[in-house]
């Protein structure tokens, strides 16, 4: 040992060293401002071109659905027998139907209803799902087990069968289905996935290390809920909501197509497609194709946005 030290001292002379440069002493300081969670999600979402195109599409459709019906002088119920089955032209942008009603107005009124149904159904799913799942997540094991079994039973009842059944029961023959019944039917069983998701999140987060750390630092339950559990569940819930909207719109469109939608002259995209089917048979394919494309675009927009959000919220995919 001593011999080695002596050798080292002989070799290492003072001249071999020079004073350290103190100017970059804080090289390991974090220069970039720290990005908060949601701005970071937004930043990642913006990089996803497909999701952004979905978002732009949805915003665009919403704007036209609000303003579109006022963009020409026709009303959605106005019939003009001198102008039936007109092909799309400069006065009737989407043409007219077999009763001479302006399709541009009808299609956008229909889109309005479809969007309202989708958003309302998602909102109700959200409220029921979060409450039910949240309660199950914090309740005792036995209550939790019972609540989840019940939810599973409810969920194995086929979704569209319930919707169809309720629309049949609560709509009088020939009077169509009201918005209220449609929404009720759609949300009756569809809140279950949301509640299962929320319960799972709550259970998992309750036991997480950072909740424990927070608790051991003396944080109250309310603080943990506010600072850790809610912000961390919000992401998956948001994704779920985005994906519930197209499902509800799809269900409504299917109902409309089966003739269980709104009563004419009101329209939804599904009932317009159903009317268009008859139009297509006599060679007026545009009457079907226009609402069909719009339904598909709405579904596309919400689905890619939901997928993009899921990716943006997943910290494992962070670049």
């Amino acid at each position: 040992m001593d011999r080695i030290d002596a050798n080292l001292n002989k070799e290492l002379q003072r001249e071999m060293f020079e004073p350290a440069d103190l100017s970059n002493r804080d090289a390991d300081k974090i220069k970039r401002p720290s990005i908060k969670y949601w701005p970071d999600v937004w930043r990642r979402l913006k990089q996803n071109k497909l999701a952004m195109s979905g978002l732009v599409l949805i915003v665009g459709i919403i704007i036209i659905a609000i303003a579109g019906p006022y963009m020409n002088k026709f009303d959605y119920f106005e019939q003009d027998y001198t102008k039936i089955n007109l092909k799309p032209n400069s006065t009737h942008f989407f043409g007219t139907d077999e009763l001479g009603r302006d399709l541009w107005t009808r299609v956008w009124i229909g889109a309005r209803y479809s969007l309202i149904i989708g958003i309302l159904a998602a909102a109700i799913d959200f409220v029921i799902g979060v409450l039910y799942g949240g309660v199950a997540g914090v309740a005792s094991r036995r209550v939790d087990a019972f609540m989840m079994r019940l939810a599973e039973v409810i969920y194995s009842i086929p979704y569209l069968l319930v919707v169809i059944l309720l629309s049949v029961v609560f709509s009088k023959e020939g009077s169509g289905t009201s918005l209220f019944v449609l929404i009720l039917a759609m949300t009756l069983t569809s809140w279950v996935p949301m509640s299962i998701l929320v319960r799972g999140q709550v259970l998992q987060l309750k036991e997480s290390e950072y909740s424990l750390a927070s608790e051991s630092l003396g944080a109250s339950n309310g603080w943990i809920l506010k600072k850790h559990i809610i912000p961390n569940t919000l992401g998956p819930i948001l994704v779920n909501v985005t994906l519930t909207i197209p499902r509800a719109i799809f269900a409504e469109a299917t109902l409309g197509f089966l003739g269980l939608g709104f009563q004419a002259p009101n329209s939804s995209l599904g009932s317009l497609a159903n009317d268009g089917l008859a139009g297509m048979a006599v060679g007026n394919a545009y009457q079907l194709i226009i609402p069909a494309i719009l339904i598909s675009l709405i579904m596309f927009g919400f689905n890619v946005l939901g997928d993009g959000l899921r990716d943006a919220l997943d910290p494992r995919l962070r670049k």
Partner: protein
């Protein structure tokens, strides 16, 4: 394992019972009764009709009768058809729907995962983009639109493909494809992400470093593990298929159970609506049960002992 199966079976039966009960009371809460508006009929005829369908008894009595008949497999008489019972109609319609459904499911099961696996193997290359375009179209375009577009743009231009009807194999091609698009797309997406995850695992690297051919790595190690999540969603997909068949059968004029259901709704044939709804529910819940069992059998990681969660 056995305990879990029994528990699962018990839950399925409870669910079917719940569906029966809900359907029964919903159908009987419809305002008015089905015979009032059949025009002028003498009070005696009306009374007889009520008696024939058991509508003169109290709700609980009717419910018990319906339930006992159901246990015997009897769905009752149709309210609109004079010649066929609900059972006759179901036995007539179901084979048609089942044939179409199985064909569509086969298409989806073969092409969906294959497309997804290809997309994952060639991530961000041409096959990936093609697969994802197919998947996006399949998920965004509802089956009724797909079906009508097929008729408009394919069947009308290709002479040997009929635009509708039933009887020969060629009648099933377009409806089965239209019906399969959504589950196919769904499976492709699921398979892609699951495959990507599996391909990043250590055992894939191990297999590769042992010098096994690429095909063997993909087939024996990657696909076998990646396919598990697909099995778990099969139940939901089958249920989507069934619902899709309502509209597809309507569009292509196929005399299946779906068309029957839609027709029973338009006719307000309450016993038929009830019968088909319950029949559908039994089929679906049975499928979910079978899929669960299959998943258990396939996934080596699930060894259910004691706690069945």
């Amino acid at each position: 394992m056995k305990k879990y199966i029994f528990k699962r079976l018990g839950m399925s039966i409870v669910t079917i019972w719940a569906v029966v009960t809900i359907t029964f009371f919903l159908m009987h809460s419809v305002p008015g009764d089905p015979f009032r508006k059949e025009g002028k009929m003498s009070p005696a005829v009306y009374e007889n009709l009520l008696e024939k369908y058991g509508l003169d008894k109290s709700y609980p009595e009717q419910y018990m009768i319906y339930l006992t008949n159901l246990l015997k497999g009897d769905f009752g008489d149709s309210m609109k058809s004079k010649v066929e019972t609900v059972n006759d109609m179901i036995t007539r319609g179901f084979p048609v729907s089942a044939y179409l459904g199985v064909e569509a499911l086969l298409i989806a099961i073969v092409f969906g995962p294959a497309l997804g696996a290809l997309a994952a193997l060639y991530q961000n290359k041409v096959p990936d983009y093609i697969a994802m375009i197919v998947a996006i179209i399949g998920i965004s375009v509802p089956s009724f639109i797909m079906g009508t577009m097929f008729i408009q743009f394919i069947a009308k231009n290709i002479n040997w493909l009929p635009i509708g009807g039933w009887g020969e194999f060629k009648h099933t091609i377009l409806p089965a494809i239209a019906l399969s698009m959504m589950p196919l797309a769904y499976m492709a997406r699921l398979m892609r992400s699951s495959m990507l995850e599996v391909l990043g695992q250590d055992y894939i690297k191990t297999a590769q470093s042992k010098g096994i051919s690429k095909a063997a790595v993909v087939l024996k190690h990657a696909v076998r593990n990646a396919i598990l999540p697909i099995v778990s969603v099969l139940g939901t997909l089958i249920s989507n298929l069934l619902v899709g068949s309502f509209v597809i059968e309507k569009i292509f004029g196929i005399p299946g159970l779906g068309a029957l259901f839609v027709q029973s709704i338009t006719n307000r044939d309450y016993t038929l609506i009830m019968g088909t709804t319950i029949f559908y529910a039994i089929v679906l819940i049975g499928m979910l049960f079978l899929v669960d069992l299959a998943y258990m059998a396939i996934d080596p990681r699930i060894k259910l002992t004691g706690e069945g969660r």
